[in-house]
Symmetry: C2
Subunit: 339 residues, 2 copies
């Protein structure tokens, strides 16, 4: 086992100073052609690579960014990571992935642990618990220390920073309008509880569309799901107890479950009930019938977030404090679950 070779060792072997080796390897004009050649050849032979940690300490930057997400198993978040990765790599950055597991504490611990020099900046989507508590001190603190943060998807207006979002309300409005245009009157909504920012916004869009067309907003047709497990029964109830033409669900899981429950009740999708979901993931694509959905391009969101973060990192120190919010367009992908 040959340990990593350092400048010091090379210097010793070649009987020159460490400075000379360092400068030679960086091709400094200060050093004679001759010495440079010699040092470079030797370094190559021993496969010298500078120690990243030493460089980080010296330069006060690590070329590493961290993305904190609630869950990696959600297809959407996986696509975001993918987008972040690619843009980061193109720019010579590495990506540290942290999972908050929807827990406030884990989010705080992760941020505090990494804010001490380990990384250059954060990209994050808030955990449910954080959104519920509305406690964002950990984020403010990091920003105050001069470390840039870019939020995406699950954001808060209480923090000033760069953000990447979709227009959740508008997307929901459009999906609902799509149903209205088809002549449906009994349009149900399956959403999350209101403290989840995107759930709330999507609910607003749905209501706005109904009102806009002078349709009655029937509270019985609005289901807000708290628990991510065992929500099948709630959905079955919704479908059983109401005459429903169409269902708009704020995520894939709710959409596919609505279809399954409808089938169990002997209702056909899309013949008896049309269904639109949210997030164009793997489920929407491969379920039978495949699901019409609001596509939310995670790769693009992640890429954009990474780009914004890196731009800020590489901007001339403390330039303007102009924070931007980028809105990624969504579109309705029509598949088999609507007609």
């Amino acid at each position: 086992m040959k340990r990593k070779v350092t400048l010091k060792q090379i210097a010793k072997e070649l009987d020159v100073s460490i400075s000379t080796v360092s400068k030679s390897l960086r091709n400094s004009m200060e050093i004679s052609e001759d010495t440079r050649q010699k040092v470079q050849a030797f370094a190559k032979l021993y496969n010298y690579k500078p120690n990243n940690i030493a460089l980080s300490l010296k330069n006060k930057k690590t070329k590493t960014i961290c993305i904190i997400i609630p869950e990696i198993i959600h297809h959407f978040f996986a696509t975001v990571i993918s987008g972040v990765e690619h843009v980061a790599n193109e720019n010579g950055y590495n990506v540290l992935v942290c999972l908050s597991d929807e827990s406030f504490d884990k989010e705080v611990i992760n941020m505090e642990m990494l804010a001490n020099g380990s990384i250059d900046g954060f990209i994050m989507s808030l955990s449910k618990e954080t959104q519920l508590k509305k406690d964002f001190h950990h984020i403010t603190e990091v920003i105050n220390q001069g470390m840039p943060v870019v939020m995406f998807d699950r954001i808060t207006n209480e923090i000033l920073c760069d953000k990447v979002i979709i227009d959740d309300s508008l997307a929901a409005f459009n999906a609902t309008q799509y149903f209205i245009d088809k002549g449906f009157k009994k349009i149900a909504l399956i959403s999350t509880v209101d403290y989840v920012s995107v759930g709330k916004l999507r609910t607003e869009g749905y209501i706005k569309a109904l009102k806009n067309s002078d349709l009655k907003v029937d509270e019985n047709l609005i289901l807000k799901i708290e628990d991510t497990e065992n929500f099948e029964d709630s959905i079955a109830n919704l479908l059983t107890n109401n005459e429903i033409d169409a269902v708009f669900a704020v995520n894939e899981l709710f959409a596919v479950t609505a279809i399954k429950e409808a089938h169990k009740l002997g209702k056909k999708v899309p013949d008896d009930i049309s269904v639109i979901g949210f997030t164009d993931g793997i489920i929407s694509k491969y379920s039978s019938p495949s699901i019409t959905t609001v596509s939310q391009n995670g790769v693009k969101m992640g890429g954009k977030a990474a780009k914004m973060l890196i731009e800020r990192l590489e901007a001339e120190e403390e330039e303007e404090e102009q924070y931007r919010t980028e809105v990624i367009e969504t579109e309705l992908v029509e598949r088999e679950s609507t007609k």
Copy 2:
């Protein structure tokens, strides 16, 4: 904006030496109760946190491990990351995620870039291209430098290191046997090309099961898919040109596509054709009919891999060179696509 406070600054403020501050914060008995109290109070007030990079340089370890995977969008790999994350976090490690995108070059670049002090060890699953080229020099090199590597899922026997796998051949054997026990004779296989290690092993298990029951191995019933796009037609052909009772697919995507194509051809699953997939992911669970599948617990595999890596990192330096290969059990999860 208040910048991070350092030992130096605290020392200056309190008019003591840096050593005294450092020792006080580490609660060294060398320092008087009095001074310790004072320093600790001050540090707390200014929210001092030691700089991780400086510690890494000093300690020659970063408490960061890297996982290199071909693709994050595959549900299986996302679950592995999740498993790695949790075990790593419990042990105070962070996780850097790198994507090879199935490319040999990206795999090499990532490893070389990180092997210089940035991380303490690797967990990896080979890219397709690496498996095809059979060039593992980048991995050997890293191991020779004394950096531990744990391989999982897509591994190679040409590298000596810790490994976490499932018994792909046995799992495929069992799945095939399940069909045989039901009395099916015309059992098709949808696999990947042979250079993908797990595809090959699963194919072997399938063949073994057939031979074991004196069933003819019909090459026409074995489809090996190279391209991950546009394989629908190949599957449709397979189903059209042969009388098939059952299909064993080596991944979810092939399984769900087989079902879709069967339906298009007017064949019902499971009434006309039974289907078993591989990897118990989101597709298998939510497709209609839901898919009977060989479950391959990614969370467990990732957790195990992380555990092995961390144990090696924390073992008394160069202990025994005893490499272990852990086999994670699989099971057949019965759902609606078989009868």
